[in-house]
Structure formats: structure tokens, C-alpha cells
């Protein structure tokens, strides 16, 4: 390109020279002296450079000009490193933050599964009440499969984490149970051996086949081919490994890569296979050629209606309404079965909005800086306009400067975002359970480019146009300065308004987090350790109970342990176990919910959790397997069924077993910190015939200090009680509860961070603007002081301007925040989106920062010497 340009220049010169030489020859031939002939030729020819310029203009030169402009801008920027650093840093923060959040949105929502034609996949599912996808049952899967005409092939899938015994050692593996057509539907080919097909998905195969993932093959078998044909056990089933999936295959659920893929039908229990309301499968299907998701959806409605009517028909009138309320739908599933999409989409979109505002703020700030820079280059611009530069060209030069800044900002921002997305994924990840791919792909790069160009135009256009408008008319100079101040002021007001919105958002999210931490839990989560144990083979019931009791005994006598107990369900950890209950002497209203939350617990559970016992007694050794069945209820249960009367001695029935209520405990949050405490009843683990918990969570209360210190001795204690017992993961209870509010914590942390960032940027903006104003008004200030204005007056003069801008910014920003905060409504807790206190707090924070930023230039202005000021040019 450079070569071509130089060549074109040379050709142009030689073309014109030829003409000139010929003219000279002509005059010489007519008898002039060579000297005179040359002179005459030059005269006739006119300005060579002018002709060249005209020719260059015609050839087109925008690229050449652009390169020149960028070089010129680079030279200019090198001369003011402070400006460069501030500008690039604020842009990098804006662009980086936007890119990171977008990478996450990309990873969670946009990235397609690496399978054949992912756009043709649909998820067919029942809906939760709030319209999000739920799951389907095995009979429903087969019903859909037989009745839907617009799909060519479909498969069911569910995740499970079984304990497998392989080569004599046992481990927990991440498994996907998949139906026969799963791999053929996705178009996945084996990398070794074979994959599962319809022949594997039968009720009682001789030895069920299993496929392992490439990652597991490498990790567990070091990629050795003798892994094929290996046998292993899950519970009482013997399975054989028959093949390995390709490295690119990561399953259908983003964020989770399975180790094993097992055939569905033989691995399900009889109840799971036959019960039409046992919903725990995901159904994915491939569209027939030419079919659309809408068509499938229409068919799903008809098919679902048939199914659910058949299910509801035999039920009593009252339950029928609840069953028939359920809906089903077909969703596009290019990104697979993706619960992350629904869990994280709202926080991610709100965050996207927040970082969008941060970028806007950075642009406004940069715009202000460029404006001040343009003002100090006014002389240069006037001269260039006077000697004939056209305005468009000058505007382009300003744009080149901001383009260069945006490019630098984009590169820095990309690096920043790579680091920042890593931090975000770690915050989101369930301690390593979530593997999100946030490496930049073309979506992300395109997004960053678009963002940078937008930033460049936003930041550079206004100052550029402003700087070249009317510069040639000295009479208008005064008006220009006024115009300049007005633009500068609007930029500062814009920054203050955007900051106000961000600070209000930060305050709302921080308040939410504080309220969630302060909400009454009904128990002490601090100082508690929890863990699970598993046995390679299931025990008979009586032996299991004896071993668990022995384990608890050993645990309670550990040094540093104040109390030990076990519970079937960990509360405030996202779990909910509900049962229908009948209470003696209480008749439900027709529309009333007949369920209560249940937990099966060991003795001393309430003491371990520090849940106060309000009435009656705790479970104790009297409550043996053979003894009378007893239950403890919570306050809410007591209030809702017995009003003011004591429930002790009354009876409740659940799953055909009748329990006598022997005590009342305080309300404990059950599913999450947000949900109100439900009606609860507890039954002792010795008397759990009607209720079969899958396993227990053990709880240890530390006498003092960090409960995690107790973890080191657990392994030994567990294996001493029974050598076939394995210790599972142990964690502090507080960490588990914290994990349930990870979204809220992210919003508070990031909201707070961006709010603070916004304050800093806005302060920089105010400081820059006021310092610049003061330096321009130094003469005027000098006159005022000479005429008797005191220092206080000067400070007041400057701060009055700051205050006016502040008021405008807070009012505009407050109104915007009020209009927007509703979007975060469901994410908040214990605070309304229009909470007056929050708005006042944000205004005060902004006001204090703004005045502090304005005070420095004001102080400087009040300390100038009037004589120096008057002489100032």
C-alpha cells in the first residue's frame, strides 16, 4: 500500500514535469533564451503543487488522510501523557466491564452446543409457575415422543452423581442418564469404541453399557484403550464401558461436563419409570426438516392437554385444578438444557445495564477532557481554518484522536475483561462445579469493537464539532466561550446524573445484601460444620441406624465439638421437602394449601442449630423405632393449625403415619433466606418409616473459632466407625448459606464497585471542569479581588456553580433511577426500588464527593494574587 502510494506520487510528478518541459522546449524553439523560456513556461503552467493537490483529491485519499490523522493524533497524545493515561484508563474500564459482562452473557446464553446443527434442537418441557422450563416424567417423555409429528428424533436426559466402584476403589462420578437416541440426535460420533443406542436403552439388559467422556478417559485412565471393556458397579448394577465421546463433546448442559453417560431405562427405578408426575427428565428433540419451533409448540399444547387430563381424571376434584393448571412448551435449545440462562439472565441483564452506564459515564468524562483540550488548541484551529482547512477535515482529525484513544482503550479493556470475567466466573461458580467458557470468540470481539467505535463517536464528536464551529469570527469569540462552558457544564451534569443512577443501584443492592444477612434465620449458621458420608454399598435399615448413631456419638465426643447431630435436609440451602399433612381437629378451607415442610432429624438437632425450643420437649432416647411416633412443629405450624392453643399432645398424619406433637420450636428459614418460613414439622430419624430420606447431613457445632478446623479429624473418625464409610465434602454452614445468595452478593459487590467508580469518574470530571474554568477566568477573578471580593466570596462563586450542576445532576439522575430501579424489583429484598432513604443517601454521597472535588479548584482560585491574575494573558 505504501509502495503503491509512493509510485503514484512519482508518476504524478513525472507526468506534470513532462508537460512543463515540453512547454519550455516550445518557448525555447520560438527563440527565447532557455532562462526566459523556463520562466514563461512556469508562469503559464501555474502552481504545480496546486495541480497535484487537485489530482490527489480526485484519486481519493481518505485512507491516506486517516493514517495522517492518526499519526498526528498519536504525536499529540504523546505530548500529554497525563491526559492519555486518564482517557485510556477510563475507557478501558468502561469497555472492559462491558466486554466481561457480555462474555458471561455469551457463555451463558448465546454459545451454541458443539453438536451438529444446534439451531434445530428444541427443548420440550413442562413449565414452572413463573414460566421457566421445568422437567418431564418418563411416561410424559414417551407420550410426547409418540405424539409429536414435527420432530424427527428425541431424547431424554437427566443428571446424577452416583458412587461407582471401579477396579476395587470407589468414587463419585458425574453421570448423565440418556435415552437411546441421545447421541444420534446430537450427531456425535465416538472417538473410541461405540456410543449408546436404542439397543442399550432397554429395561433389563445383561450388563448395561456405559460411555465415558474424553476428559474422564484422560483423567481416570490416562487415555489408555484398555478402559474399553472395563466393568464397574453402581449400587447393585454391573456396567461395562463401551466407548468414549469426542473431546469437543461436553454434554447438553452448559457449565457441567459429565464423566459417564449411562442408558436411561435400566438406571431408573420402577417408580421413576411408571409414575406420570415424577418429573426429573429433560427432553430434547431435533426438528424435522422444514418444521419450526412454533409448529412443535402447537403440537405440544394438544399433546400435553391429552396427557394431563388423563393424569388428572382419577384424582379428587380439589387436586385436579392444581394439576390442570400446569402448562408445557417447546423452547429453542441451541444452547442445550440451560438452567443458568434462567438463573442468571436477570442479574446479567441488570449488570449489562450498569456497565453500559459506566461506559456512558466514561465517554462523558472523556468528552469533557477532549473539550478542554480543544479549547486550549483554539489558536491552532483558528489558524488552520484561516489558511483554508475545511471543517469536516478538522472534525475528522478530532475523531481520529478519539478513535486512537478508543482503540487503546479497547485493547486494554480486552485484557482487563479477560481477567475480570475470570473473577466473575469464580464468584458465580459453585466451588468448581461450574465450568463456563468465557474465552473471547467472535461474538465477544465484535461486541468490543462495536462498543469502542460507539465510545469513540460519543466522546469525540461533540467536542470536535464544537471546536471548529465559528472559530473564524472574532466577534463571536465571547459567545463561543459561553457555548463552551454550557457544553462543559452539560457534560458534568450528565456525569453526575449517571453517577446518581449507579449510586442508587449500588445502595439498593447493598441494602438487599445487608437485609438478607440480618434477616432472622431461626438458627446460628456461624460455627457450624456440615458434611455427608456415603457407604459403598447400602446397609439394611437397622444396621444403618446403628452405624449413624455410633458415628454421632463419636463426633460429639471429639475435642472442640459442642454438639453433633444429623438432618435429612439442610435448610437455607435451596432445598424444600414438603408433604401433605392432616391435622387432627382441623379442616382445610377448599383453596388452602395442604402441605407442610418436613425434616427428619437426629436428637440434639435443635441444640446443634441453636434453634430455641419454645414448648414441650426435644427428641430424646425415648423415641425409639418401636416407641410411639412423635413430631415437633414450628411456631408457624402451631399458629396456623391451632391458633393460640398449645399443640403439644395433638396429632398430625403424614404419609399414613400418625405422630403425636411433643414440642414447638422457633421458625427457621427453610428453602432460602428470602422465602418466609413455612409450616414445618420434624420427625426423629428413628421413626422415619413413612419418610425415606436418601441420606443424612451431619452437623457439628464448634465450641469456638473456625468450624473448618474440625474437618481434619473427620476422615479418621468416619473410617473408625465403619471401614466401608466414606467421608463426603465438608463445608462450613455459613458458606452454604452464602452460596444461596451468590447473585445478591455479586450484585452488591459489583454494584458497589461500579457505584464507587462512577463517583470517582464524576469527581474527576467536576475537578477537571472547574480547574479549567478557573484557569480561564483568572483575569475576571483578579478583577473581582481587586475590587474587594474576599476569599470566601471567590470560593462561594466557584462552589455555587458546582452546587447548581450538582442539583441538576441529582434531580435528573434521581428521576432516571426512579424510572429504572423497578427493573431490579424482584432481585431486591427488604427494600423497595423507590426507598426514600436510599435515594437520600445516594444524593448525600454524590453531593459530598462533588463538593470535595469542586473545593480544590475553588481553594486555588481564592489564593491567586490579584496582581498576577490581572497580568495573566
Amino acid at each position: 500500500m505504501w509502495f503503491g502510494k509512493r509510485r503514484a506520487e512519482a508518476r504524478l510528478s513525472s507526468e506534470l514535469r513532462y508537460h512543463l518541459d515540453k512547454l519550455t522546449e516550445e518557448y525555447a524553439a520560438s527563440g527565447m533564451s532557455p532562462e526566459a523560456a523556463r520562466l514563461r513556461a512556469r508562469q503559464e503552467f501555474g502552481g504545480i503543487e496546486q495541480v497535484k493537490e487537485d489530482c490527489r483529491d480526485i484519486r481519493g485519499r481518505w485512507l491516506e488522510d486517516l493514517i495522517k490523522d492518526v499519526r498526528y493524533a498519536a504525536r499529540g497524545l504523546r505530548r500529554s501523557p497525563g491526559f492519555l493515561a486518564v482517557a485510556v484508563l477510563s475507557l478501558a474500564l468502561g469497555i472492559g466491564a462491558n466486554t466481561s459482562i457480555f462474555s458471561l452473557i455469551n457463555a451463558v446464553m448465546l454459545r451454541s452446543l458443539p453438536v451438529r446443527e444446534p439451531d434445530r434442537l428444541v427443548l420440550i418441557t413442562r413449565l414452572r409457575d413463573e414460566g421457566k422450563p421445568a422437567s418431564v416424567s418418563y411416561p410424559l417423555f414417551h407420550h410426547f415422543r409418540a405424539s409429536l409429528r414435527s420432530i424427527s428424533v428425541s431424547a431424554a436426559h437427566r443428571t446424577s452423581s452416583p458412587t461407582i466402584v471401579i477396579d476395587g476403589s470407589d468414587e463419585v462420578a458425574e453421570a448423565d442418564l440418556v435415552s437411546g437416541d441421545y447421541f444420534s440426535m446430537l450427531g456425535v460420533e465416538p472417538s473410541v469404541g461405540r456410543l449408546l443406542d436404542a439397543a442399550d436403552d432397554v429395561l433389563a439388559p445383561e450388563s448395561p453399557a456405559a460411555v465415558i467422556s474424553h476428559r474422564y478417559w484422560q483423567r481416570r485412565f490416562a487415555g489408555n484403550s484398555d478402559a474399553i471393556g472395563k466393568r464397574f458397579t453402581i449400587g447393585d448394577k454391573f456396567l461395562t464401558i463401551v466407548g468414549v465421546t469426542p473431546p469437543s463433546f461436553v454434554g447438553v448442559r452448559p457449565g457441567r461436563t459429565p464423566d459417564l453417560m449411562l442408558p436411561l431405562t435400566p438406571m431408573l427405578s420402577q417408580e421413576e419409570r411408571e409414575e406420570p408426575t415424577n418429573n426429573n427428565l429433560n427432553m430434547i428433540a431435533r426438528l424435522k426438516p422444514g418444521a419450526t419451533v412454533q409448529q412443535v409448540n402447537a403440537e405440544v399444547q394438544v399433546s400435553w392437554d391429552q396427557f394431563i387430563r388423563a393424569v388428572a381424571a382419577p384424582l379428587p376434584e380439589k387436586d385436579r385444578a392444581r394439576i390442570l393448571r400446569q402448562r408445557a412448551k417447546a423452547f429453542p435449545a441451541h444452547n442445550g438444557v440451560n438452567p443458568l440462562q434462567y438463573d442468571f439472565s436477570q442479574p446479567l441483564f441488570v449488570l449489562m445495564g450498569i456497565v453500559g452506564l459506566v461506559l456512558l459515564l466514561a465517554c462523558a468524562n472523556l468528552s469533557g477532557l477532549l473539550l478542554a483540550r480543544a479549547a486550549s488548541r483554539q489558536r491552532e484551529i483558528s489558524i488552520r481554518l484561516a489558511i483554508g482547512a475545511c471543517r469536516g477535515r478538522l472534525v475528522r482529525q478530532f475523531l481520529a484522536e478519539s478513535l486512537l484513544l478508543a482503540a487503546l482503550g479497547a485493547v486494554t479493556g480486552l485484557c482487563l475483561s479477560y481477567w475480570f470475567s475470570g473473577v466473575l466466573v469464580n464468584m458465580l461458580a459453585d466451588s468448581g462445579g461450574l465450568t463456563l467458557n468465557v474465552a473471547p470468540d467472535w461474538h465477544v470481539l465484535a461486541f468490543t469493537c462495536a462498543t469502542s467505535v460507539l465510545a469513540c463517536v460519543l466522546a469525540g464528536l461533540a467536542p470536535g464539532i464544537h471546536a471548529v464551529r465559528g472559530s473564524l469570527r472574532p466577534a463571536l469569540k465571547e459567545a463561543r466561550t459561553v457555548g463552551h462552558r454550557r457544553l462543559g457544564r452539560s457534560l458534568v451534569i450528565a456525569q453526575l446524573a449517571v453517577s446518581m443512577v449507579l449510586v442508587v443501584g449500588a445502595a439498593l443492592f447493598l441494602e438487599t445484601l445487608v437485609k438478607l444477612h440480618r434477616v432472622e434465620r431461626g438458627m446460628q449458621t456461624g460455627g457450624l460444620l456440615t458434611f455427608t458420608v456415603r457407604s459403598a454399598e447400602p446397609y439394611p435399615a437397622a444396621r444403618g441406624l446403628a452405624i449413624r448413631a455410633a458415628l454421632l456419638e463419636r463426633l460429639s465426643s471429639l475435642p472442640g465439638v459442642e454438639a453433633a447431630s444429623a438432618a435429612a435436609t439442610l435448610v437455607i440451602a435451596g432445598n424444600l421437602w414438603v408433604r401433605k399433612v392432616q391435622v387432627q381437629g382441623y379442616t382445610y378451607r377448599p383453596d388452602e394449601d395442604e402441605t407442610a415442610a418436613l425434616n427428619v432429624v437426629s436428637p440434639r438437632y435443635f441444640a446443634t442449630m441453636s434453634t430455641p425450643l419454645l414448648l414441650g420437649r426435644d427428641f430424646d432416647p425415648r423415641d425409639t423405632t418401636a416407641g410411639p411416633k412423635v413430631a415437633i412443629v414450628n411456631e408457624r405450624f402451631a399458629r396456623s393449625f391451632f391458633g393460640g392453643e398449645s399443640p403439644v399432645g395433638r396429632r398430625l398424619t403424614s404419609n399414613d403415619v400418625t405422630y403425636e406433637i411433643v414440642g414447638v420450636v422457633a421458625d427457621v428459614k427453610y428453602r432460602s433466606l428470602r422465602d418466609a418460613s413455612p409450616r414445618q414439622f420434624y420427625i426423629p430419624w428413628t421413626q422415619r418409616e413413612g419418610e425415606q430420606p436418601a441420606s443424612y447431613n451431619y452437623l457439628l457445632r464448634a465450641r469456638e473459632g473456625d468450624p473448618l478446623r474440625l474437618g481434619s479429624s473427620l476422615e479418621r473418625v468416619v473410617s473408625e466407625v465403619d471401614p466401608s464409610l466414606r467421608l463426603g465434602r465438608w463445608r462450613s454452614y455459613a458458606a452454604i448459606v452464602d452460596q444461596t445468595i451468590v447473585n445478591e452478593r455479586i450484585m452488591a459487590t459489583l454494584g458497589g464497585f461500579f457505584g464507587l467508580l462512577a463517583l470517582i469518574i464524576a469527581c474527576l470530571g467536576i475537578f477537571g471542569m472547574m480547574a479549567f474554568q478557573v484557569s480561564r477566568r483568572i483575569n475576571e477573578l483578579g478583577v473581582r479581588m481587586a475590587l474587594g471580593a474576599g476569599r470566601g466570596d471567590i470560593v462561594a462563586l466557584v462552589l455555587r456553580e458546582v452546587t447548581l450542576m450538582l442539583i441538576a445532576g441529582v434531580v435528573i439522575g434521581g428521576a432516571c433511577a426512579r424510572a429504572m430501579s423497578g427493573l431490579a424489583g424482584r432481585m431486591l429484598f427488604g427494600v423497595t426500588p423507590t426507598d426514600t432513604g436510599v435515594f437520600a443517601l445516594a444524593a448525600v454521597a454524590l453531593g459530598a464527593s462533588a463538593l470535595a472535588a469542586g473545593w480544590l479548584p475553588a481553594h486555588r482560585a481564592s489564593h491567586i494574587d490579584p496582581m498576577t491574575a490581572l497580568r495573566h494573558e
Partner: protein, 111 residues
């Protein structure tokens, strides 16, 4: 003994160049000379407008430029007419004829 000179009408330079070049490939100086000679010294082309016009016509694809040896043995840039240029020339010539007839009619009538 100078002949009175006339300024070129706006936009006519292009068609003159196309016509001259249609006769034979020629360099810039030659084109200027030829216009002067054929118009019997009435039309003088300013170099300041000639070269930009040549470059413009080349960019539009009506002229093709080639470097070749001029009569003196020096390298010079020769312009020749392209096929598109020839069509353009025909169109513009027809246009000119119509225009000049019309102008003549009016001027005569006014007398």
C-alpha cells in the same frame, strides 16, 4: 496577433478530452496542444484544470492510462479511450449538438 480567447464552458472540457483522445492515444501536453490547434487558438486549456480532469476521467473508467515512449524518447503518460468512454463520448456529443442548436436558435431569434 493574439486571437481572442474564450473560456471553456463549464463541463465541456471532459467531452473535448474524450474527443481528442478518441482520435489517438495522447499525453496531457499533447491533448492541450491539440485542443488549441483544432480550435484555432480560441480554446486554451489551463493545466490546473486539465490534469484533475484527466485523473477524474481515468477514475471514472472512461480513459485508460499507459506509460509509453513519446516522440522525443522520453517516458510519458498516454491516455486512450475505453469502451465505456466511447459510449460516453457519443452520448455527450449528441447532447452537445442538441444544446448548441437550441442555444443558436434562441440567439438568432433574439436578433
Amino acid at each position: 496577433m493574439d486571437t481572442p480567447k474564450s473560456d471553456l464552458l463549464q463541463g465541456t472540457l471532459d467531452v473535448l478530452i474524450l474527443k481528442i483522445v478518441a482520435l489517438e492515444p495522447l499525453h496531457g501536453y499533447g491533448i492541450a496542444q491539440r485542443i488549441r490547434q483544432i480550435s484555432l487558438d480560441v480554446l486554451q486549456v489551463q493545466q490546473g484544470s486539465l490534469y484533475p480532469a484527466l485523473h477524474r476521467l481515468e477514475k471514472r473508467g472512461w480513459l485508460r492510462a499507459e506509460w509509453g515512449e513519446a516522440e522525443t524518447g522520453r517516458e510519458a503518460k498516454f491516455y486512450s479511450l475505453t469502451r465505456v468512454g466511447r459510449k460516453q463520448l457519443e452520448a455527450e456529443t449528441a447532447n452537445w449538438d442538441r444544446l448548441s442548436e437550441a442555444v443558436t436558435l434562441i440567439l438568432r431569434a433574439a436578433e
